[in-house]
Symmetry: C2
């Protein structure tokens, strides 16, 4: 079960601490989906799909990850020009999809210490899952991370190290450190994480079984979540549980869109970019480790990769809370902004079932300026008139 396979060249290895194939592409956990069927709906969590997950026994927080709601959001149909649903990952224990990967990553850790390179959602998720499992957690953050974000992370009492120097180099450095110091390093596209992220896709397809949604639209950063969702779909296809694939559309913030740029150039590999500032900071990955895998997923499923600007992202975020009641992180509002753009490009038919993956809650996003609200003040004695003026 811990055998790794390269999605690109198909090579396999049993060196379970490897991230990369000798061909240079990322490995993922190998799975035999033979004979898989939809499970009886007993376990409410992602572990309903344990037949397709590593053979570990999740406890505590890990056992409660996933099982998030798919919300039918008809008030978005006109916006997108399709039949729209939102998979709300904010219902995970720490408020983001990251918990699916952390659940598997921490459950598979064979050491007393886990570590991750993140200053946002993944850092909080890993620290929380480590806390629940009683493991030490090392988090590598940039030296200039905002205090507000640090204070949320510190609630779970991890060991935080602020790194001076090129933060982008930490991804590779952390893998070496892990091997040198016997630490389970669980970065965004670690095979264990991707195995967990698979379950987002499995749950979405289960909700439409025996049919299949026409398209899934999600934000993309490192490519770990995107890879997991694609992997899940391929496994279901191999098992014969689904006979067609939903189109996978991946959305980036225009200010930092290396995967979208490669897609537009018709290329199969992603080149690093000099990323700029964006409200979608948590998906601003200028050198995505699984970028090429994302391009392959888009090609293989007849989907695509696109970029949207900050105005479109903030407008989508506002629309989500005002028309669906889902208050999401700016980064994950890119899914609706992207779906709107695809709709304008006639990518959908009105009766296409389109699923937007809302990757995380907006409640954790404290460093974004909150609008000042002006509401009328009414003396209790005048309340009747005030209400009448608004409703009669």
């Amino acid at each position: 079960m811990d055998r790794l396979r390269c999605y690109a060249c198909g090579a396999t290895t049993s060196e379970s601490d490897r991230y990369r194939c000798s061909c240079g592409e990322p490995l993922w956990l190998d799975t035999d989906p033979t004979g898989f069927e939809w499970p009886a709906d007993t376990d409410r969590s992602m572990w309903r799909y344990s037949a397709l997950l590593p053979a570990v026994t999740p406890t505590g927080l890990a056992a409660s990850a996933g099982g998030t709601p798919l919300v039918r959001t008809d008030r978005l149909d006109g916006d997108v020009g399709a039949t729209v649903s939102v998979k709300y990952e904010g219902s995970n224990p720490t408020g983001t999809f990251k918990d699916r990967g952390s659940a598997v990553g921490v459950a598979m850790a064979k050491t007393g210490t886990v570590a991750t390179v993140s200053h946002g959602n993944m850092a909080r998720s890993m620290a929380a899952h480590a806390a629940s499992a009683g493991l030490d957690c090392l988090v590598f953050v940039p030296a200039d991370v905002p205090q507000e974000r640090l204070s949320l992370l510190a609630r779970y009492d991890p060991t935080i190290l602020r790194i001076e120097g090129e933060y982008g180099r930490l991804y590779e450095a952390s893998l070496r450190l892990g091997r040198a110091h016997d630490i389970a390093v669980v970065n965004s596209d670690a095979p264990a994480r991707v195995a967990g992220q698979k379950t987002t896709g499995l749950e979405i397809l289960a909700a439409f079984a025996p049919s299949v949604p026409d398209a899934i639209v999600l934000p993309v950063s490192s490519g770990g979540h995107a890879s997991g969702i694609w992997k899940g779909i391929e496994e279901l296809f191999a098992a014969g549980v689904v006979t067609e694939r939903p189109r996978l559309y991946f959305v980036q913030a225009a200010a930092c869109a290396p995967i979208a740029a490669a897609w537009d150039r018709g290329e199969t590999t992603v080149a690093p970019v000099d990323g700029g500032e964006t409200v979608a900071y948590s998906i601003a990955n200028a050198d995505p480790p699984s970028g090429n895998r994302v391009l392959a997923a888009a090609r293989r499923t007849s989907g695509g990769v696109l970029a949207v600007d900050d105005d479109a992202i903030l407008d989508a975020r506002r629309t989500l809370s005002e028309r669906t009641g889902l208050f999401v992180e700016s980064a994950c509002a890119t899914a609706l902004a992207g779906a709107r753009a695809l709709g304008r490009q006639r990518a959908f038919e009105p009766d296409d079932e389109v699923v937007l993956v809302a990757t995380g809650t907006g409640f954790t996003e404290r460093d974004l300026a909150t609008p000042s609200v002006s509401a009328p003040t009414v003396p209790l004695a005048d309340l009747d008139d005030a209400v009448a003026a608004r409703t009669d």
Copy 2:
């Protein structure tokens, strides 16, 4: 199904807009639990229990409420002196248990406008559910509500009215306004809300079926949630699905604890108090409308009501995030603080199954000061030594 029954005197009425029985006690929706069995686990939401819920068809956000995880938290066992699990209500769409009541309340609304008296979790929940259903939402808040809380509420675009005058009088005033202006007023202990809040209890007991947990510990404010959980247990008992009742323990903040004070005096009715300031502001109800019902629930289930101070609440909040990975609102940390106090009073046997209801996420709590975090800064080149110093 919309008939109301008084829990105290048993009188019934078909005037579905009534809140109170002529005896003065609150009414709840009458239900015939005859023949109820545990449902096959198909629907993941609270609507799995539709046999015990009003005959409405939930859509959008309402259809996704409930179905929250029960997290086995063995790292708290020593603290409480029992076998502890946490029902994590932060997984609801707006991050609190309030969504269960809003889902039923909004689904049952027969008007184009809903309204509520709240400046916190319930206001956000009602505004979000109204947004999803395309209904107008009126929210009555105190004139001095913090801007931070208003800005979170405004994300869902409700009509906010700041009320000058005695906010405590608004509860009754709002009911009159609702009848006068054809508005569905859904306050904390409205029958429709309590019907929805019932499902917290149903889900907890389902998780232990065919056994029954020994105790459930939860924060109490107006008494709506407490009443719903008790109601659910009584219905299951009447249906013969359970043959014993878990002990219900209700916890208040010492600075504003009218129900605990009445319990300590051995009384069956709650007298209003002059509430003081507490970090658990969202449960600081000085004149709880369902307070007497809470006392009855504690008596009937051989449980109790107690108060805990702010130091105990903040310490419990820290313990929850650092040992279970659940970052909760201060008000809901009262559940662990209360369970600790009960443990010291020998209320539990070590093998007692005790469930703490964590009523909401801490991510929404922006007006609480966040601690300043100091973490060491390490040049990338020295990272190896820094890691070695901490892990080898």
